[in-house]
Subunit: 340 residues, 3 copies
């Protein structure tokens, strides 16, 4: 790709040799001749001086004179990601149904579908056009899988689940197993399984990280909204409703019937008690806990239990000062005693 | 199933049209004509007014006059679960050994066993009557797997483990891999593996959630007692002993040689340090930590480290009041200074 | 193995019958006649009295007169592990490529390699001499896998990753999936994937527990250093650098671009914010959190956020004393009021 094509794509303000051929992307630190890189923020300017990159995508307020070509844009990181999308397109495996795959006779397989070795597709399931099922991925019965999805090795999608278009499920993801619900039967001292007969609906453009799990609804559905992105080893329990464009980092656990509305950002290792609600646009810090009954409003939150981030920071500072407080209190008491 | 059959099954007090055919179960909110639902608690009465369910299982103290049929029982949720067990029985796959499965010649396969595509059963292993190994499940050597188990896709059971009857292992579960134990060899500055040659014993009626792991004993055994239920992404380390009817929610981690006695209830994301003991009937709140050396008695516990729930709540309230305390303390000091 | 052979191996001080044949290892509690056991510390001496072991490995300061043979060594646990290595060598599966395995034509398979049922090896990949790929393990394209590795069932290694020699990856491990990185595109209100085109490098002698995940570098690499040991369900994000001989216990989560230097020990359920640095030899307690921007020096650390262990313990004691402080403060205020 030539530099002036890239500059056009980014609608950026270009300075340099537009005929230069760009062969790859890299960080400023590791870039080689012929590669493009980006400067996220003017304060890391030092890295620009040492880079071997042939072109740098820079922020609007970039004013240096440098030897390399550069493109000024509003958001260099975003621009860089867009270039990467073109130079490193998602691997498109050629249409094929591997001879070892076991596909139910009445399954509907779209055009241009790739189904790798040791895959299974159950009865009445549907695999949309352009979707790739990589080696060992298993799709149950009555599953609807949309177009251009990438289903990585050893993913399992249980019966009756619905997956939208352009969904990426990374290796080891489990969609649609039973939720965790029991009723104690005191007569025979046993836990009786509460019915787990609902399903999972994953909307378009969702990405779910390796070894994450999404349980089916007990009676209704578990839903992950359009454009939401979930990291590795996340647990989504039955009847959870996740809105659109929600970001959830690794190892977070979401209990049954939690609602997380659109555009929330959830850091790693957070825990949500069941039936809690996170309102549109809330941001929750790592390792926080949302306790039962809580409704979390828009804003920044952290702590066990969660509180507004400001309050959390202040409280932490107070806690850090406890040794001093205890000491001063002791001194004060002694001083008063002496006075008596 | 006719309503008077259901009423008989539940030994409930029935009012309505016993000849009505019930085709399914649903929540009060989503129920359609022909479906049965339940009212867990009289305080959600409002939902009864709007439901389209044809029959409602209600608590004993229900006194309303409604158009629908209803059945009065002691525990409506339990009764509902029992109806669900009959209307939605666990899927029974027809006896079959898929042609792609690799079964050791000397493995013993019981009657009525289902073994799906791409399964493996190793030497000297035994699969009990009526058990289902779903696609891609792998059973090592010398494994004893009981009757009527459901082993979901991509489960792996390592050599020498013993699994009881009616056990459910959800997708991605790993049973019997090496525990995590090393001894530092200062001579060559290496971690030498401590032997991990024990096994895992899972008793009857246990259910383990997707992607959970149970390590084999280092020298002895790791055991999960009868009727215990474990959620997704739980880690059970070597030589752990879990009693009967224990409930463990998602993402909890149990270190080596921990003992959790019968009837404990452990919430999600809890951590147990090694060699700790949780006495019969203890209940531990989410995200708690049981620190080394701790013995947790019966009762409700929470916190990092765990303390009795009452104490935990009180302590949290005090912590929340720290800003006020610091302020008042400062005021008091100043007032005293002025007095001088 | 005869006892005097074992004594020679351990260079220990031997007392007893050197001709005795030892058939196995066990804990003092469970050992049978013919087995060898060890006494870790002189304070558990009581167990020696009751054991049926035929020989006991004991510490240097052992002075009892017992019926059994015994071997005095510096570090009995280490010595025991060394005996175990010989009596229970790692299972060496005979060289075989299972007929069901799918191996790319141009893959290079070393001598003495075992490839089990339903395995895949992609184009241009290389499997080193003596390595075992167990049933269902999947290796992508351009992967370099060293000598004498054990890759357990259902492991997935993504394209372009490099694995050293003597590496053990337990069941369900996922190496090299995309890291979790997006850039918000405000124009169309979407999360655009930041490129995840780097790789994972795992050095010699690393062991990674079941269902753990290691993401590929975004642009550069994610690296796990020689001799490091990682437990089950650990998450290692993109561009993390883990040094040599690092120990990481279960369910710990390591965010992007974290550096953990040589010889660190990380307990379970710890969380690391991105770009944090853990200096050589630091030890971090269970369930701790390393907050953004933090550099953790050598020493013992714990808490959310982490602080030196001493400070953490002191602070916890102060927190526990809060109810008393509040009460005393109230009393003091009242006393002062009355005085007025």
């Amino acid at each position: 790709m030539k530099l002036n094509e890239i500059a056009d794509l980014l609608k950026g303000n270009f300075t340099g040799n537009g005929e230069l051929e760009i062969s790859g992307i890299a960080s400023l630190e590791n870039a080689q001749n012929g590669e493009i890189s980006f400067l996220e923020n003017i304060k890391f300017l030092e890295q620009v001086r040492k880079t071997n990159a042939s072109c740098i995508i820079v922020p609007k307020d970039f004013k240096e004179i440098i030897n390399q070509s550069f493109i000024k844009v509003e958001n260099p990181k975003l621009a860089f990601a867009k270039v990467a999308e073109i130079l490193y397109p998602t691997k498109k495996r050629q249409a094929e149904i591997h001879k070892s795959a076991i596909i139910a006779e009445n399954a509907i397989i779209g055009n241009d579908v790739f189904i790798g070795a040791f895959c299974c597709v159950g009865e009445n399931s549907e695999i949309g056009e352009g979707t790739q099922l990589r080696a060992g991925a298993k799709v149950g019965e009555n599953v609807k899988l949309g177009k251009n999805c990438i289903i990585d090795p050893n993913v399992f999608i249980e019966d009756n689940c619905e997956i939208g278009n352009e969904v990426i499920l990374h290796a080891g993801v489990v969609i649609g197993t039973d939720g965790f619900g029991y009723v104690r039967d005191s007569e025979n001292n046993k836990h009786i399984k509460f019915p787990q007969i609902g399903k999972v609906i994953i909307e378009d453009n969702v990405e779910i990280g390796a070894n994450s799990c999404v349980d089916r609804g007990a009676l209704g559905e578990t839903r992950i909204g359009e454009g939401s992105k979930i990291d590795n080893q996340v647990q989504v329990a039955h009847n959870v409703s996740i809105g659109k464009r929600v970001i959830i980092a690794a190892q977070t656990g979401i209990s049954g019937s939690v609602t997380i509305e659109d555009d929330c950002v959830i850091a790693g290792q957070v825990g949500f008690a069941d039936h809690t609600t996170i309102k549109k646009g809330a941001v929750i810090g790592a390792k926080s806990a949302v306790f039962p009954g809580k409704i979390v409003r828009k804003g920044y939150w952290s702590g066990i239990p969660v509180m507004p981030m400001d309050e959390y920071k202040k409280l932490n500072a107070y806690i850090k000062s406890l040794p001093r407080l205890f000491k001063e209190f002791k001194k004060l008491k002694e001083a008063l005693k002496e006075k008596k």
